[in-house]
């Protein structure tokens, strides 16, 4: 649970410093590169862990099939949920706003 607080805190502190103009233009210019370097190091490390774990390598095909199902279901359910919210909750909120 402490990691969640730390992640959120880092996001907020970074966002706050940037919004308040504390961050220099030099850093803004290099921001994309810095993020990319961090990301590539992390992804490489993730790859190392996968390569070191025999169970993952052996189950790769099964994971690929499951991933396709998970992706399909995530897309279908998120569209469905937004559609339901638009048809129900948004209508109620709009009616209330018009009345007030």
């Amino acid at each position: 649970m402490s990691s969640i607080v730390l992640y959120l805190l880092l996001l907020i502190v970074g966002g706050f410093l940037s919004y308040r103009g504390v961050v220099s233009q030099k850093l803004f210019d290099k921001l994309e590169h810095i993020q990319l370097i961090c990301l590539f190091i992390l992804l490489f490390t993730m790859g190392l862990r996968i390569g070191m774990d025999d169970r993952v390598i052996n189950a790769f095909l099964k994971l690929g099939v499951h991933a396709t199902f998970f992706a399909l279901v995530s897309v279908v359910f998120s569209v469905l949920m937004v559609w339901i919210l638009r048809k129900t909750l948004l209508k109620i909120l709009t009616k209330k706003a018009v009345r007030s």
Binding site: M1, I4, Y7, L8, L10, L11, I12, V13, G14, G15, F16, L17, S18, Y19, R20, V23, L27, F28, L31, Q35, C38, L39, F40, I41, L42, L43, F44, T45, M46, G47, L48, R49, I50, G51, M52, D53, V56, I57, A59, F60, L63, G64, A67, F70, A71, L72, V73, S74, V75, V76, F77, S78, V79, M81, V82, W83, I84, L85, R86, L89
Partner: protein, 199 residues
């Protein structure tokens, strides 16, 4: 970019095949430090958008409703599928909570389980590809707002041009704010759902 990301992961996997498992613990440190740095810089990136509050105002109640719907749909759908495929609810829910941000969600899950991390990575890569393919169809046949849903967290960057091209200016702004909220939720929801424990 997606190809570069996949290339880096494959390179890691190939090198990892030749590294003894005794070094596994070191990767935990690398992941934690790297993730903290990345999230701090992501925060800076988000904060530099000074028009953020104006965009939020323009979107009205949809600003909250759309990301709420996308988040609930993705997590609920994944949990239901998890029951069928035999995954514990917390693991399946965490995969759904990646919202298409394949790099970050997979990295957060990596210390928990390499197998689940691969599943999360592949799921969210495929989700982005599916989003690119189905946004025009959804915009045309279901609705502009629903067209944002498949994108998830990528609605603010990689899939934003596709949403913008197939909908209108208001929906494009809503797409950006939806992606922004979902991006902020990924580092919070993925570890939170994982920590809920097997159900």
């Amino acid at each position: 970019m997606t190809l570069k990301i996949i290339g880096v992961v494959i390179l890691g996997v190939v090198i990892g095949l030749f590294i003894p498992e005794s070094y596994y613990g070191w990767t935990d440190y690398m992941l934690n430090i790297g993730l903290c740095l990345l999230l701090f810089f992501v925060g800076i990136d988000i904060g530099k958008n000074k028009a953020l509050f104006q965009d939020i105002k323009k979107s009205g109640p949809l600003f909250i409703l759309v990301p709420m719907g996308v988040a609930a749909g993705s997590i609920l759908g994944s949990i239901l599928l998890g029951f069928i495929l035999g995954y514990p609810a917390n693991e399946a829910g965490a995969i759904g909570a990646g919202f298409g941000w394949y790099s970050l969600s997979a990295i957060i899950i990596a210390p928990y389980s390499s197998e689940l991390s691969v599943l999360s990575f592949l799921t969210n890569v495929i989700r982005e590809i599916l989003a690119i393919m189905c946004i025009p169809f959804i915009a045309k046949h279901i609705g502009f707002i629903e067209a944002i849903a498949p994108s998830g967290a990528t609605a603010m960057d990689t899939t934003l041009p596709i949403v913008s091209k197939n909908t209108n200016a208001e929906t494009a702004i809503l797409s950006f704010t939806t992606g922004l909220i979902l991006s902020m939720l990924v580092p919070v929801l993925v570890p939170f759902i994982l920590n809920l424990g097997a159900v």
